[in-house]
Every structure is written in C-alpha cells, then in structure tokens.
C-alpha cells in the first residue's frame, strides 16, 4: 500500500487477537470501554478473534493508531482482571457474607 493511502483518514480498522491467548469475553469487555469512541463487530476465524472497529467519522492515522493501542492495552487489563476474578471470586463472596452477617436483615439474626 502506498504511504499516502495508508495515512489517509479512515472510518474503520481491524485488530486480531489469538483465541489461544484471550477469550472472546475478555475482548468484548475491553471493547465496551471504548464504545464511546466506536462500535465493534467480532468474528472468530480459525485461531483468531477478528475485531472490526467502526467510527462515526473518518479519523487520522495518528488518532486511529492511538485508539488501537488503547484497545490493546485494555485487552491486557481485562485479561488481568479475569485472572484476579478467578482467584478471588469465592473470597469476595465470603467477605461480603461475613460482613453482612448478623445485620438483623434476615430472620433469626441477632444484632
């Protein structure tokens, strides 16, 4: 592709992630955070998750690159959040149950 063509403003772009590394759920959560900027289509093709980003207006290549980088970083963050949730989910519920026990909100509670 000629440089001028690559630098021309565009209203959509594609990003690909390995489905062996990231879950579709992780990608969708990351996409939601960017949904103030653009809308998304997802497709699982072979071993890849294809994300197509659609913008209301054509963006400069610099702006487009910044949003793509932001999306990649958000996918990394979401993957980390998934790891934390898997390890701490039962503990989260146990702490809440313990914190709200004996509140008088349930029959038989002694406050």
């Amino acid at each position: 592709m000629a440089k001028e063509e690559a630098d021309a403003p565009r209203a959509d772009c594609d990003l690909r992630f390995s489905s062996a590394v990231y879950s579709l759920d992780t990608i969708k959560k990351a996409a939601y955070r960017l949904s103030g900027h653009c809308s998304f289509d997802f497709e699982v093709v072979g071993g890849e998750i294809l994300c197509r980003l659609h913008f209301a207006q054509a963006l400069s290549s610099e702006r487009m690159a910044a949003i793509k980088n932001g999306f990649r970083n958000e996918v990394l963050d979401q993957d980390l959040r998934r790891t934390i949730a898997e390890e701490t989910g039962p503990m989260r519920n146990a702490i809440l149950a313990y914190a709200f026990s004996r509140t008088g909100l349930q029959d038989g509670d002694e406050v």
């Binding site: 939601y32 955070r33 959040r81 790891t83 934390i84 503990m91 989260r92 146990a94 702490i95």
Partner: protein, 487 residues
C-alpha cells in the same frame, strides 16, 4: 524474659510460602500507574509491571510494595491470620449507613417563587398561585411517613419554590415533628433552603428558637448572581447578602450555608466566585454543575456547556482554593472533601448523589406540595417535566410499605447497583462514586446508563484522579486536603 513481639524470624518464615490475592479492582490512573481499590475502598498505586507481578504471584516478599499491599488487604499470606476478619469489618463499617435507612426527608411547602431563574431545576410557579401550596393535611400525612423510617437521625429539609412563601406551613411541620419526636427521640434537624429575599426578624427568631439551619443560593459576584437569578427589582444579590448577614446575626455564623450553581456565564469567573464566598466570610464552597432537569433543560442552560468545560472550571477553582490555603486561609471545596473522606476514612458521607446502592428512597425521600412522594429531589424535578418515573406514590393514597416497596423505587435501585453494572463493577474508582439512576435516566434514557459516554462518570473519575495525583505529588496540597476530611 517475656517479649512483647515475635522475633524477626517468625515473620520471615511466613514469607516463603507464597501469597493469595484478596479481591480488588484496578484502573489506569495515568499513562504509567494504576489505582487499586479493595472491597473496603482502601486504595494503593502501582506501576503496570508491579501490578502484573502481583497478579502473577511474582511479587518479592521483602519489597516495599508487598508490605503495603499486605497491610492494606490486597494480598494474604500465612502470617495474615486476621486479615479477612479485619477486611470484612471494614466492609461492614463502610456500609453501616444502609442499616439506618432514609435520613433525609425533603418537604416542598410550595412550588411558588418570586425569582425566575432560567436554570431552575424544579420549574417554579409564579408566586400568586396558591394551588401549588402544600396543605396542612398533606403535611401531617407526610410527617407520618417521615417517622416510619428507622433512621436514628432525621433531617427535614424545606425546599421549593421558595419555601418562605408558605412559612405558616413550615411552622406547623416543625411544631408537629418536635411533638412526635418527644416520643421518638431521634436526632431531629431542620433546614430551610431559601433565597433569603423574604426573610425577616420574626422568621429568623423562629428559626433560632427551633434550631433551624439556613441554606441559601449564592452564585458569585453581584452582576453574575443577579444575571443567573432574576427577580422583580433585579436585587436578588442585595437581598441574599443582606439576608445572610441578618441570619448570621440571629442564628450564628455556622448556622448559615450557601450553594452555588455553575452557568455558562460562570465558567470564566471561578476565582471571582470563590473571592465572593471568602469576602462574605464563608469557609467553604461547593462547586456544582447544573443538573439536567426542569427549566435548566427548557431554557437550554444545561446544554450550554459540557463536562470538560465544567472540569476546567472546577480544577481552576480547586487550584485557587489550594493557594488560598497555602496563604493561610482555611477554605474547603466541599465536593473534594466528600470524595477525600470516602477515600481516606472508614466512613461513607451522607451525600445522596454518591451512594451505591443509589441514595434514592433509601437515602432521601421527597414529599411534594400535592402529596406525591418521589425517590429524590431530581425525581421530583423530572416529574415537573411531566415524567413521573420516580413517583413512588402519594401520602393520601399509599402506605409507607407500598411506597418503599414500589417497583418505581426497587427497579432503579436494583438495576443501577454498581456491583452489577457494566464497567462500574470492575472500576477501581467505584468506591468513591455513585450509582445515580436519575441522572442517567434523564440524560441517557435508562437507569444504568452507558458509562463510557456518561458525563457523571467522566466528571467523577477526572476529579478523583486529580485528587490522587495531588495527594501523592504535592506535599502542601496533601496536607491541605487531609485537613478537609469529614470524620
């Protein structure tokens, strides 16, 4: 010889056995660092590599980060045998306000007002229409509802319109509430939200006798205030300033507070607005944006600026206030003090807008002049725009149980609960934010809202980030902000 402390080896032995993560959320603070918050709302800051090391269990046990994360309940090792109990206790303390139930009860004695402010959020009526006055019977039935709340602290706030236009009813409600409270023994407090234009010695003497607080509106210097708040004679500012002086003389300085509202005309004048508050001897200001209700929508006042315009205004004001403090004047920005108190103390503020579950109904109730009960003042404002989504019932038709279990209350409470809302449930700023179903319903059409484009979310995250940066990078600002904590 007995020792008070275990030997060093005792603690080091526990470090070799690895650690477990405790539940926490994280969000970017800036390009480099992340904020982490635990279930009790305690926060710490880490760079991305350290965050990654923490989650992947690669954190060096003798590092400073490890000690901090352990002491603040982000991780657990074999030596932390009381950490879970302590964290649960902190979670319980943070949420203790919910057991008290509804503490704020807003009465609208009349919708009449002699001002004609274009940004009025309650769509006031001209002051000759007594059809918009609350009757004694409606007041009595409303008071019956107030004391059904189990809250040990009851605040009755008179809003309007201009409530002083129906002062006879205020007297009636105060006397009746005091009589009921001789049996109930609650911590009972009264506030009148008034423009002070009609205040006189008799009214203030009554307020003195019954320990009633005054909350007034002051938008800044004379020209700005009178432009924002027109009334016959164009003398709103003169009357408000005179009223503040008179009220302080009779009630005492600390019994009179003021609130400002930011209009488009205010945007470039935050320093002048703050100076006006300083000149009038207030020790704080609440820099508030317009709300999307009532005449503020009809006259397009709300649409005249966006969240970023207001944030520029706010940060400029905060910078100036910090400078005033550096120069020796104790002066507080109220919104910052609310957020800081949530960040840095074990307690929640009573501020209804920043609660999760939302403060509607279970934090505040509104009894309108016509007996209609609303889940919040903003819900009442929407109703004046012919949208009764947040109408919970009527004091003449419904019981307390029917009102407090109505789907008009439970649906928005449940749907907007941040623990199950996209983005909010994993947001590290959430412990310092609120659910706000009424704002999102008014601006985006549903109780949950689309948070990536929510002005409420954008505004609160920006302010919280800014405060955290000030706390860690500016020693002077840190000292000043800590002095604003509300304990």
């Amino acid at each position: 010889m007995a020792t008070k402390f275990e030997r060093r080896e005792h603690f080091e032995a526990s470090l070799g056995n690895g650690y477990r993560l405790l539940p926490f959320s994280f969000s970017p603070l800036n390009d480099r660092d992340y904020i982490l918050t635990n279930q009790a709302g305690q926060y710490t800051l880490l760079d991305r590599p350290t965050l990654e090391d923490l989650v992947r269990h690669r954190l060096e046990p003798r590092s400073d980060a490890y000690a901090t994360l352990k002491s603040q309940h982000f991780l657990l090792d074999s030596d932390s045998n009381v950490a879970v109990d302590l964290l649960a206790l902190k979670v319980r303390t943070k949420n203790s306000q919910f057991t008290n139930f509804t503490g704020l009860h807003i009465f609208v004695p009349t919708l009449r007002c002699e001002h004609s402010c274009p940004y009025c959020q309650v769509s006031r009526q001209s002051d000759d229409k007594t059809a918009f006055d609350m009757s004694f019977e409606t007041a009595n039935r409303s008071l019956g509802m107030v004391f059904r709340s189990p809250s040990p602290a009851i605040k009755i706030e008179f809003q309007g319109g201009e409530p002083m236009l129906n002062f006879e009813l205020i007297r009636h409600i105060v006397v009746c509430a005091e009589r009921i409270n001789q049996i109930e023994h609650r911590n009972l407090q009264f506030v009148i939200a008034t423009n002070l234009a009609l205040v006189n010695d008799d009214v203030l003497s009554y307020c003195k006798a019954h320990d009633i607080l005054i909350s007034t509106s002051l938008d800044g210097p004379k020209d700005l205030h009178n432009r924002n708040r027109p009334r016959p004679g164009g003398d709103s500012y003169e009357r408000t300033v005179a009223g503040i002086a008179k009220a302080r003389d009779i009630l005492g300085r600390d019994r009179v507070s003021a609130l400002m509202t930011t209009t488009e005309a205010s945007l470039g004048r935050v320093v002048e607005i703050i100076d006006e508050y300083v000149r009038l001897n207030f020790d704080r200001i609440f820099l508030r944006p317009l709300s999307p209700y009532g005449f503020a929508i009809k006259t397009k006042s709300y649409q005249a600026y966006d969240a970023d315009d207001w944030l520029d205004f706010y940060f400029c004001g905060l910078k100036y206030i910090l400078q005033l403090n550096r120069d020796g004047l104790y002066f507080v920005e109220h919104y910052a003090s609310i957020i800081l108190s949530r960040m840095l103390t074990p307690f929640e503020s009573g501020f209804v807008d920043l609660r999760n579950p939302a403060g509607i109904g279970i934090g505040a109730l509104v009894y309108n002049y016509d007996g209609e009960v609303y889940a919040s003042d903003e819900g009442r404002m929407l109703a004046e725009m012919h949208d009764k989504t947040f109408r919970l019932g009527n004091v003449h038709e419904n019981t307390w149980e029917e009102i407090m279990t109505s789907s008009a209350l439970l649906d928005p409470l449940e749907q907007s609960f941040a623990g199950s809302v996209p983005m909010c449930f994993e947001c590290a700023y959430q412990p310092y934010c609120g659910a706000e179903p009424v704002f999102h319903y008014a601006t985006q059409g549903d109780f949950v809202g689309h948070k990536p484009s929510s002005a409420f979310c954008h505004r609160n995250m920006a302010i919280t980030r800014h405060l955290i940066e000030l706390l860690r990078t500016d020693e002077d600002a840190n000292r000043i902000l800590m002095s604003w904590l509300r304990i």
